[in-house]
């Protein structure tokens, strides 16, 4: 039977199942196949904080959404075209996001009376009329998998567990994905259990064959590779890109990387990744707590390493005092905050942009810290290098504000040429800089206001630094009122004077009257929304802040040159507050804190409303 192949320009798939069903792995593999095929893509994993919530319940649902296309895309997509529902809970939890007419592939084996009751279904939605507005493909995934693995010497449980690979095979057939890499992956993943490896490969292939033979699917789809800029590409998540960026910063600065960290969602993967790369001279230290993590990083910085600590919001709260010590001792330090929903423990696996004011001001005293926020998962690489550049050049702690959406989301990334990476090498001070051969640890570079950096082991430059106020120049303890006022202002002036690039505005015709401004991870949804609005004929300009402190020098001029400035943030208006205070501009906020990224459609409507209200 030859089936029809239909061309599509883009597809959004959501895999959903129980936490134990392996949906993240399934999504990751489909993503890898899709990246390999050459589509542009963007992903949104969404999982509970509980490792294993009660099976089959709504809180236990884990999902992975993937948007892929034959053109460049900016978000994981608003509404799935296809939902793979491994159980009734997955169907119920995700149906609300599914537009009418979308495909539902449901694992009928799990739609038992007991499982239906668990999530409050009175009857079986696959058998009544309640799903008539969707295209339902009822597939007994579990029993088909078990049937396909009959010849294997594995337990029934292990056979059932391979059902996610059967589903992956089916979807890989449906969208004509290349399969070799997945076969290779499975063999490597289960290298120590060859039977399990073979079984998973067999389940994967059975899923593919099922698609080809079953009447339930009459059409398969083809999405041509995207026409992206020439180069070598790979798929990369935000946390991985950030870890690579830190290693790159270490290589480009010539300083060994020292990571002091305490495990916390959603930042732990950076610790995991960096701990694999000791051959780069990377030292990873899993500390006893968040405070020790940053303390050890600062101690390593004092010794001439590139000191880094990685955490999420609750950890930043604990590290505040040490960051202040870094501010006053003027040592390089990178604090990575992978923001998550707060306050307190909040929703650890959900995203938010609510730590901006904490990053800027969450310390005692006048304690200015530069803040850099990556815009996309792959931008985490470059943002990490930029944070290191600032930290090393200006001898200061730098906050790097990622978030859960960037951390776990992934996209294709054009791997940079080594020659294109900036040189951020450091010259340690080795000679006395004072009259009569003394060393003045707080004698500043007149241009950058950075202090010299002499590391222990340098003969003749022995000196003491600390948290007590220091006399300008000598660094000796000083309680002199005028000296303190001077030092407070010097530390502020140093941060204010950091060289950050001007804001660039995207305004194709140059005559838009409305500007949409964003920062950090909202870049994708905002840019996608702006595209939609422009497609509809309206004019709108867009700009995005990567440096939150100091702000680009032209920020005020840019904001003032538009009638209205719209600022979507996943908080209650933290950047809006700052911009209003600093530039006296009536920024219009759009604020939602649902633990999820904005949807392009949602923002497009908001932008259109602002335009229409002109």
């Amino acid at each position: 039977m030859t089936k029809q192949v239909q061309q599509l320009d883009r597809v959004i798939i959501r895999f959903a199942g129980d936490s134990g069903d392996g949906m993240q792995l399934t999504g990751d593999r489909f993503t890898a196949e899709t990246a390999q095929f050459g589509n542009d893509l963007s992903t949104l994993p969404n999982f509970p904080a509980e490792i294993r919530a009660p099976a089959g319940t709504l809180p236990g649902v884990s999902s992975f959404q993937l948007h892929f296309a034959d053109h460049d895309i900016l978000t994981p997509g608003d509404a799935p075209n296809v939902l793979v529902a491994m159980n009734p809970a997955a169907l119920k939890a995700n149906l609300g996001d599914l537009p009418r007419g979308a495909d539902i592939i449901a694992n009928t084996d799990e739609f038992t009376k007991r499982n239906l009751q668990k999530v409050g279904y009175a009857g079986n939605p696959l058998e009544d009329e309640s799903l008539s507005e969707w295209r339902v493909h009822a597939v007994p995934l579990t029993s088909l998998t078990v049937g396909a693995l009959e010849g294997f010497e594995i337990s029934k449980k292990d056979a059932e567990r391979a059902k996610n690979m059967f589903a992956l095979g089916l979807l890989s057939w449906l969208y004509n994905r290349p399969t070799e890499a997945t076969v290779k992956f499975l063999k490597a993943k289960f290298a120590k259990k060859p039977t399990i490896a073979e079984a998973n490969v067999a389940a994967f292939q059975a899923g593919w064959n099922y698609g080809e033979t079953t009447e339930s699917f009459s059409v398969s789809y083809e999405i041509k590779p995207a026409r992206l800029a020439p180069g070598v590409y790979r798929n990369i998540s935000g946390n991985q890109a950030l870890a690579y960026g830190l290693i790159a910063a270490s290589v480009q600065s010539g300083l060994p990387l020292f990571l002091g960290s305490y495990p916390i969602t959603p930042a732990s993967d950076i610790l995991h990744e960096l701990s694999k790369h000791k051959r780069f001279g990377v030292r990873t230290f899993q500390a006893e707590d968040e405070i020790a993590g940053v303390g050890a990083a600062l101690g390593a910085s004092f010794g001439g390493s590139l000191g880094v600590t990685t955490t999420s919001g609750p950890g930043v709260a604990l590290k505040a005092e040490t960051v202040g010590l870094g501010v006053t001792t003027e040592l390089p330090l990178i604090i990575v905050d992978v923001q998550r929903a707060g306050p307190s423990t909040g929703m650890p696996t959900k995203t938010e942009q609510t730590d901006l004011l904490m990053a800027l001001y969450g310390r005692n005293g006048e304690s200015p810290v530069p803040v850099v926020a990556p815009a996309t998962p792959s931008d985490c690489f470059h943002a990490a290098i930029e944070a290191a550049r600032i930290a090393l050049k200006y001898r200061t702690p730098v906050m790097l504000l990622s978030d859960g959406y960037l951390a776990n989301g992934s996209e294709p990334w054009r791997v940079p040429e080594m020659d294109d990476l900036p040189d951020i090498s450091v010259d340690f001070t080795t000679e006395p800089n004072g009259d009569d051969g003394t060393y003045l640890p707080f004698k500043r570079d007149p241009e950058t206001l950075a202090r010299p950096w002499a590391v222990p082991g340098t003969a003749g430059l022995e000196h003491r630094i600390g948290g007590i106020e220091k006399a300008d120049g000598t660094g000796n303890i000083s309680y002199d009122p005028d000296n303190h006022d001077k030092m407070v202002r010097l530390r502020q002036a140093k941060i204010d004077g950091i060289d950050v690039p001007d804001l660039e505005v995207d305004d194709p015709d140059g005559d838009a009257r409305i500007l949409v401004l964003g920062w950090g991870s909202t870049y994708g949804p905002i840019a996608a929304a702006v595209r939609r609005v422009r497609k509809g004929g309206a004019k709108v300009a867009q700009t995005h802040l990567r440096h939150l402190n100091p702000l680009p020098a032209n920020t005020g001029d840019v904001l003032r040159s538009y009638d209205k400035v719209l600022l979507p943030e996943i908080n209650l208006g933290q950047l809006a507050l700052l911009l209003r205070a600093r530039y006296l501009i009536d920024v219009i906020g759009y604020n939602r804190v649902r633990g999820l990224p904005f949807k392009a459609e949602e923002l497009a409507a908001v932008i259109q409303d602002v335009i229409d209200s002109e």
Partner: protein, 354 residues
């Protein structure tokens, strides 16, 4: 024998040495010392300054890291590298420094509040990790810098500004705590006995790994005379148990001569010397890999200075954390070759678009 084992007992093996003769003067900074007149810290500072030349290390490879409290001003007065940090965090900061710079001799200066209250967590974890640090814990059993509140080593019932009716919490015994954390080197000395203090420092710096030295230090303003019994010539010899490796544990003079033996109830007990046979007297073995006897000895000074062991309770070698960490880094490079950034970025699934 691995290179780790070969470093055991050689705390200074990786620290560059100097050819130049040093004196105490070389280790005095130009800063005016600002402790209260009569403070025990002066004696400790002088003892450390006069001890350091003996190590023969390059001065620039010595770092003193401190937290907050009176004692934590210490680094300012030494002409080495120094970092006066924040309350309780010195062990964490020193860990990052020592782990990334095995060529440095890193001292941590801390007090009973800094180390055992706000920084208790960092202290126990430094001890269990065994980073190559020398932690000098100045114990004056009071909060000095905040002007006289009780500390985690103050005796129960202590009347202070914050406990006008007497403190309620049971104090920590720093030696017991350190042994409980399985520290490799644990010792106690006293500010007024420079010779003993320096002999303990000598052993502590030679130990590779974390060494904890508790120094009884008198705060003459808020807790004067806390250790008077150990200093008063009339009684000190009768209550001070000087622990010496390989020697039977006996102390006191004349009729008051006493000995330590194993107790039938577990632990150890103090008995009159005349009531015990030589063979029953416990011989101190600081290298005993089992910390139980050292722990039992540390309990002898409870409840209140009837007899107080000083000296080295425990000195046991095990690989230091910093060395193991650096070995892993070296092994990774040796095994897979030094990391190349372009290889890292291009590892895994890639595709080319032309």
């Amino acid at each position: 024998m691995s290179s780790t084992e070969s470093l055991n007992g050689k705390g200074l093996a990786l620290i560059p040495r100097t050819d130049t003769a040093q004196t105490m003067k070389d280790f005095k900074s130009d800063q005016e010392v600002r402790w209260c007149p009569g403070c025990g810290d002066y004696a400790i500072l002088a003892a450390v300054q006069s001890f350091l030349p003996e190590l023969g290390l390059r001065r620039e490879n010595i770092v003193f890291v401190s937290g907050i409290g009176c004692s934590s001003r210490f680094p300012y007065y030494l002409n080495t590298y120094g970092f006066h940090s924040i309350h309780g965090r010195a062990p964490a900061i020193a860990t990052g420094l020592a782990a990334s710079r095995p060529d440095l001799s890193v001292f941590v200066i801390t007090g009973d509040g800094d180390a055992l209250s706000i920084g208790g967590n960092h202290l126990i974890h430094a001890l269990r990790r065994n980073v190559n640090l020398n932690i000098l814990l100045f114990n004056n059993r009071i909060y000095g810098l905040t002007k006289g509140q009780y500390s985690p080593t103050s005796e129960i019932g202590k009347i202070t500004k914050s406990t006008p009716m007497g403190s309620l919490d049971k104090p920590f015994n720093p030696i017991s705590l350190a042994l409980g954390a399985e520290a490799g080197f644990v010792a106690r000395t006293i500010d007024s006995d420079r010779k003993h203090l320096q002999s303990v420092l000598r052993e502590a710096t030679a130990h590779r790994g974390t060494s904890l030295v508790e120094i009884y230090q008198n705060c003459n303003i808020f807790n004067d005379g806390a250790f008077e019994a150990l200093k008063d010539p009339a009684v000190r010899d009768d209550i001070t148990i000087k622990l010496e490796h390989g020697q039977p544990i006996v102390f006191g003079t004349g009729e008051n001569e006493k000995a330590v033996r194993l107790s039938p109830y577990g632990g150890v007990e103090v008995v009159r010397r005349s009531e015990v046979a030589d063979s029953e007297i416990l011989v101190h073995d600081m290298h005993n890999s089992d910390p139980s006897l050292a722990f039992a000895l540390s309990r002898l000074d409870d409840p209140a200075f009837e007899h107080v062991p000083i000296g080295i309770f425990r000195s046991v070698d095990r690989p230091s954390y910093d060395h193991l960490m650096n070995e892993q880094v070296a092994a990774a490079a040796a095994e897979k070759g030094k990391g190349q950034l372009s290889d890292l970025l291009l590892a895994g699934d890639t595709w080319r678009i032309s």
